[in-house]
Amino acid sequence: MSTATTSAPVTAPSAGAPAPARPRRRLLDRLLKVYVWLILAWLFLPIAVMIIFGFNDTKSKSNVTWQGFTFKWWGMLDQDPKLIEAVVNSLEIAVLATVITTVIGTLMGLAMGRYRFRGLGTVNLVLFAAIASPELVMGSSLLSLFVSAGVQPGFVTVVIAHVLFSLSFVAITVRARVVGLDPSIEEAARDLGASTWVTFWRVTFPMILPGVISGALLAFALSIDDFVITQFTSGALQTFPLWIWGATRIGVPPQVNILGTLIFAVGVVIAVVNMVTARRRT
């Protein structure tokens, strides 16, 4: 608790700020810091409950009250084949949607960051509309399309929908990276005799790769978490969030908590690794 300021040099000559202002400001900052941690605690509270109740020795269908600690559910993860199938579906959809989104979103981001062209404003506006439109509206209009066209909703329609809502995020993330590039590096490569193709793969692509990776991670996270559009476009197909929704009325088994915990743990590891490597690069 040092009240002596370490950062700010003493501002005696200016005399602009009266002396008592400083301790008050520090107090305010400290209160704000406590506040930030309180909000973070609030954001993580249901996640902590989810993790802890994966270890709950519950006897009934409803996993609401604490009955004692157990590891037994970890051994019974594969008890419900429908649940496992739903998780596998979620993962397959997320991987496929991420690959498609990353490829076509990166191309869009390159075009938007590199070129000024007629129609750029429209592209911006459509991407903006895709981010701002509620999922309910996107989901119900996609279902209208599939019903009218006689397409049976299922795996493919869910992938189509997931690419749709994550595309803008990837395009914008890549665009941000492309705008920050120094064009003279590519010019240097070309002056040294590299073809357009070689310049792209050996010079441009490595430089925009961090943007592509963050875009892909975001697409994956958006896909695996998605509920609303998926519910409208899935037909009889089950995904992990859809399975939970169906189970809420009869009671959510502890296996759901464990699977949620595992997905969360993998997400945290990937996000932290991404952040640390991004920091090292800059």
């Binding site: 602009g16 700020a17 400001r25 704000l32 930030v36 909000i39 954001l43 249901p46 996640i47 409950v49 996993n63 609401v64 009250t65 076509i104 191309l107 869009m108 075009a111 590199r114 070129y115 062209f117 750029l120 592209v123 506006l125 991407l127 903006f128 509309a129 895709a130 701002a132 439109s133 509620p134 309910l136 119900s140 209009s141 209208s144 399309l145 009218s148 066209a149 929908a161 690419v163 595309l167 803008s168 665009r175 941000a176 996270a221 978490d225 509920f227 519910q231 992990f240 969030p241 939970i244 929704w245 809420t248 949620g260 997905i263 969360f264 993998v266 997400g267 996000a271 952040m275 920091r279």
Partner: protein, 283 residues
């Protein structure tokens, strides 16, 4: 070749957006004016009167959704602003760590987090049963199936979408501008209200757009945390589409909701541009 390069790059993504974002809206309008049922099929009759019917039948739910969205948005601004402010100006070298912490909850499915809240807030759950056994709240006190639970769930689920754009706007405020204000004898409060706050307003507007729209169209929170008195327009659209297979009336409700929101979204884009939202999305 060079002239066409941007169009070739845009083409795959552009087609995807055109076919699966723009075209379906036209189909939704078409479905809304059809008549029939799921067994015998639907026939296009240009039945525009359905709009009057569904809007008068579900006017309450429309207004309730807008009301919930409004209250939840205001609460989100109040909660998010100080947090974004502290991270942007006092986060120091840990800024990106704090932002990561704000975003990490997204790795747990939105439905699972809401279900978790349901358990936490249940009458015999972790929060209420200790309070009840201590006698701090009456035994018949409950949170689930109330308006407070639904609005609380909305704020919880969408708060990061308010924190992020405000943070992006605040981080861009040059600290030297604030110093200049103080050098010109602005009190700390004045430096905030006259300099920092106006500069951060675009971020607040972007946050309002990114939270109000999805909150108003939400049905997960009302379904899991609310009761029969909290039904929102999303619940109606969802059950008409997916449970009753009453496609025309569901499409009409969804189209009306979309029209109202698109007017707002495009008015926003015209007045304030698309950059603030797009930049926050790139985070």
């Amino acid at each position: 070749m060079k002239r066409f390069a941007p169009y070739l790059l845009i083409l795959p993504g552009g087609l995807w957006l055109a076919i699966f974002l723009v075209v379906p809206m036209v189909f939704m309008a078409s479905v809304s004016t059809q008549e029939g049922d799921v067994v015998n099929g639907f026939v296009q009759t240009f039945n525009l009167s359905i709009y009057g019917d569904v809007l008068s039948q579900y006017g309450t739910q429309f207004l309730r959704s807008a009301g919930y969205g409004l209250v939840a948005t205001v609460v989100s601004i109040v909660l998010a602003y100080p947090m974004a402010y502290w991270i942007a100006f006092r986060g120091g070298s840990r800024k990106s760590t704090y932002l990561l912490l704000v975003l990490l909850p997204f790795f747990v499915s939105f439905v699972l987090r809401t279900v978790s809240w349901k358990f936490l807030l249940a009458d015999n759950g972790l929060l209420l049963s200790p309070l009840k056994s201590l006698g701090l709240v009456p035994d018949d006190f409950h949170v689930l199936q109330t308006t407070v639970a639904v609005i609380g769930g909305l704020v919880y689920n969408y708060l990061p979408f308010m924190i992020l754009p405000i943070y992006v706007a605040l981080e861009r405020v040059d600290p030297r501008v604030v110093e200049a204000a103080q050098d010109l004898y602005a009190a700390r409060r004045q430096a905030f209200t006259k300099v920092v706050l106006p500069l951060s307003l675009p971020g607040v507007f972007a946050g309002v757009l990114m939270t109000f729209v999805p909150m108003t169209a939400d049905y997960v929170n009302a379904e899991i945390l609310g009761g029969p008195a909290n039904t929102m327009i999303g619940n109606i659209i969802q059950s008409r589409f997916l449970v009753n297979n009453d496609y025309p009336s569901a499409a009409a409700l969804s189209f009306a909701l979309m029209a109202a929101m698109l007017i707002g979204i495009f008015a926003y884009a015209r007045a304030l541009g698309t950059e603030n939202v797009l930049e926050a999305a790139a985070r």
